[in-house]
């Protein structure tokens, strides 16, 4: 169906009848609004092109291009220009198609349910390795009850067992190293003087 075949349709309706035309109209409307914002902000602030160019570190010619909406002004550029004139750019979108709800930006997404996983058990070993400084012992953390193969420099020496939680908390199950055995100190002996 063309314009000639249906004279009741306006040019706007003709453009809006296809997706390409519809999106082009939306882009043109946005660009027009941006230019309106620039014009209003400049009139309200009374700022000169020279000052604006200095603040934005661009030439006066570039400022003129931006303010007239020449070319495709980036959103970031529009925000810079408005901020240089003392205003802040805010964006919003309103529903146009029937049945579309208004947008809500401050709603939180669904929270992920935390799945409690049991602590994992590990064995702590010391394993000898040959380094450029000679044989050196290095700690090894291996899953509990795992089978270790010996290296040419000896069997790994088990130092202890630990559990590691999801959050990375390490708890020893057994003492990592032997402790001193001593009787409790209760009362001193009085020396004879």
């Amino acid at each position: 169906m063309t314009y000639q075949n249906n004279e009741e349709r306006s040019l706007y309706e003709e453009r809006a009848s296809t997706w390409v035309g519809l999106l082009g109209l939306a882009a043109a409307a946005a660009a027009w609004q941006v230019v309106r914002l620039f014009t209003a902000a400049r009139a309200a602030s009374g700022i000169s092109s020279k000052t604006l160019a200095e603040r934005m570190s661009v030439t006066e010619g570039r400022v003129s291009q931006i303010l007239s909406g020449e070319g495709n002004v980036h959103i970031a550029t529009a925000a810079r220009v408005l901020r240089a004139m003392g205003y802040e750019l805010t964006l919003t979108a309103v529903p146009v198609d029937p049945g579309k709800p208004p947008l809500v930006l401050n709603r939180r997404g669904p929270r992920k349910q935390a799945v409690a996983r049991p602590d994992r058990a590990y064995d702590v070993y010391a394993q000898m390795f040959l380094t450029h400084e000679g044989p050196r012992a290095f700690p090894l953390l291996v899953p509990a009850h795992d089978t270790l193969r010996t290296t040419p420099y000896g069997t790994p020496v088990k130092l202890g067992e630990v559990t590691i939680s999801d959050r990375g908390q390490v708890r020893p199950i057994r003492p990592i190293r032997p402790e001193w055995q001593a009787k409790a100190t209760e009362k001193p002996r009085l020396a004879t003087t």
Binding site: P178, E179, A182, T185, K187, T193
Partner: protein, 152 residues
């Protein structure tokens, strides 16, 4: 409360700690070649000089052995604690009782810290002097530590 206990209780408010210093320290290396921690034999004695101030000399002798019961090191130290007193001169028995009870509360933390520091500096596992056996036993029972977890 007996007369001696009353004397000691009265001393708590009359004696004031003036100085606590590490007087002497001696470290002797043993013949052990393996430094895996084993038994520690601790001896703690107090010598009293009844002057003004009253000076308590707390001497501690600690022998550290490995698992094979060979001596790794021996640490001997003496701490001097000087106390001034107010009022009449305290009786000898009250001072002796004070040395057995209240003095340890002020001196033993320093001894404990000293031994932990020295064993660490010697490259050994730090040794923390266990204090107050019966009291610690009560705490262990309260926490219901499973049998076998008690490491002395």
């Amino acid at each position: 409360m007996t007369d001696v206990e009353e004397d000691t209780a009265a001393l708590l408010g009359r004696l004031e700690l003036q100085a606590l210093i590490l007087d002497e320290c001696r470290v002797k290396r043993g013949r052990a070649e393996d430094a895996t921690p084993g038994d520690v034999q601790t001896d703690l004695s107090v010598a009293i000089a009844h002057g003004d101030p009253i000076v308590f000399t707390v001497r501690t002798l600690n022998a550290f052995h490995n698992q094979a019961d060979d001596m790794i090191a021996e640490i001997e130290a003496s701490f001097s604690a000087s106390y001034t007193y107010t009022g009449d001169r305290p009786t000898e028995r009250a001072v002796q009782n004070y040395a057995r009870e209240a003095l340890m509360i002020q001196v033993l933390p320093f001894v404990r810290e000293f031994l932990a520091s020295m064993t660490n500096r010697l490259g050994l596992t730090p040794f923390y002097l266990p204090l107050f056996g019966p009291a610690a036993e009560v705490l262990r029972t309260a926490q219901q530590v499973p049998p076998g977890a008690d490491r002395g």
